[in-house]
Amino acid sequence: MNSLITVAVTGIHLGENPQPGPGVIRSLRDAMGTKVRIVGLAYDALDSSLYAPGLLDEAFLIPYPSAGPEVYLSRLLHIHEQVHLDAIIPCLDLELPVLDEIKSVLLSNGIRTFLPRREDLAKRGKDRLPSLAADVGISVPETHSVVDEQALTFVADRLGFPYVLKGLHCDAEIVRSASEAISQFRRLSNKWGLPLLAQRYIEGEEFDVVCLGDGQGEMCGAVAMRKTMLTRMGKAWGAVTIDDPDLLDAARRVVQTLRWRGGCEIELLRERRGPIHLIEVNPRFPAWVYLATAAGVNLPLGLLRLALGESQPAFDKGLAGIIYVRHAAETTGTLEDMAALVTGGARKPTPPSTRESRAAQ
C-alpha cells in the first residue's frame, strides 16, 4: 500500500451503544498515517464522529440499509464519484446483507470489500448457535425459541430461574421470575420483534475475542479480552487483554468451521470450574477493536489488506495486560456543519493534523 488509499467506514457513532467505526479508523490511521484517507459514512447528522476533529477526511450521510440495495448502491456510487473510494469497511450487522447484494457492482467500480458470505452470516445467527456449536465441538447454553408469551411457561419449566431472554439480533436480559419474564418478553419483542430466545443462565465469566478470518478457514489474528467496566446496556466501557490459549483455540475453531471471511467478535463464557460455552458470534469488528491494535494486532489493517488483495501482515500474539477505558468527550460543530449534512448530505470535517506514524516515516 504505497499510494494513498481511500477507505469508507460506517458505524461511526460513539454513544451509549458504541459502534466500531472509530476504532477501525484509529487502527488504520495508526498504521498508515497520511497514506490513508478516511471517508465517514453516517446515518444521522448527529453521529458523533462527524464532529470529532482528526478522525475523518470526508463525511457523508447515507440511507439506512432498510432503504434497499438499489438506493444504498446509488448513494455509494454518488459518493464514489466525488471522493473515489478504494474500499469500504462496514461496521454494522444490518449493512452486511445489503452490501453482499451489491458487492460485485461495487467491485466493478473499483470499490473493494471483504465481507462474510451470506450463508455464514446465517449460520452464526443466534437462533442457529446450537447447531454451529455442535459443528465446532463446543458447548452452548441450552436455548429455546420463544414465539409467544405462552411459551414462557414451558421455558421456565425447562430452564428454571434465572434464565436469559434475548432479542434475535441484540439485547438480552436476565429474568428471575415469571412476572419479570413477561415484562421483558413484551419489552424485547416490541423492540426487536419475534422470536426471542431463552437461554439457560450459566454462572461464569464472559470473555470476548476479536478475530479476522481469511475466508479459507484460517484465523489471521485474534485478541481476547475481559470486560472490566460495563455500560447500563452491558457494553464494554473498559477492558483488559488476556492470554488464554483455551479461549483463543475455541475462537479459532469457530472461525475455521465457518471459514469466516472478515472481522468478527466471538463471545465466550467460561463456566466456573467448567467448560467454555459459545454465547454469540457478531459478524463484524467490535467497538473495542482498537484495544487489539494497542495490543499489537491491527486487525482492521489486516482486513483492508485482504480487501485490496494484498498479503497479510504477520500478526504476533497480542500482548496481555493492555487495558482501555473509553473516554467520552464532547464534540462540537456549528449550525452550518449540521445544515451541510442535513441538506447536502456531506460535510468537510476538521482534517487530521499532521501525524507521525510508523507508515509515514
Binding site: E205, F207, M225, R226, T228, A239, V240, T241, I242, D243, D244, R273, A320, G321
Partner: protein, 89 residues
Amino acid sequence: MDISHLAMLAVSDTGFVFDPRTGHSYSVNTTGLLLLRSLKQGVTVSQFEEELRSSFECPPTIRDDIGSFINSLVHYELLADAYKMSQSL
C-alpha cells in the same frame, strides 16, 4: 504439584499482581509478595515458613497465616485445592 497458573502471574515490585489468563488483578502486601514469589519459584510452604522464622521474629500462628493466604489463592483459582493437601495445610 501444579503451580503453572501461579507461575504465569505477572507480579510487580509494588505488589500489583496481574493474571494474564483471566485479566483479573490483585494486590498483596510485602509479606504476601514474598510468599507469592517464593511459591512461583516452587518453594514449599514448609521451606518458606522456615525461611521466615530464620529471618524475622514471627508469631506462633505463622503457619496458619500462610495457610490463610494459600486459601485465598485457592479461592481465586490461582492454585488447585489439592495444593493445600500436598503441603499438609
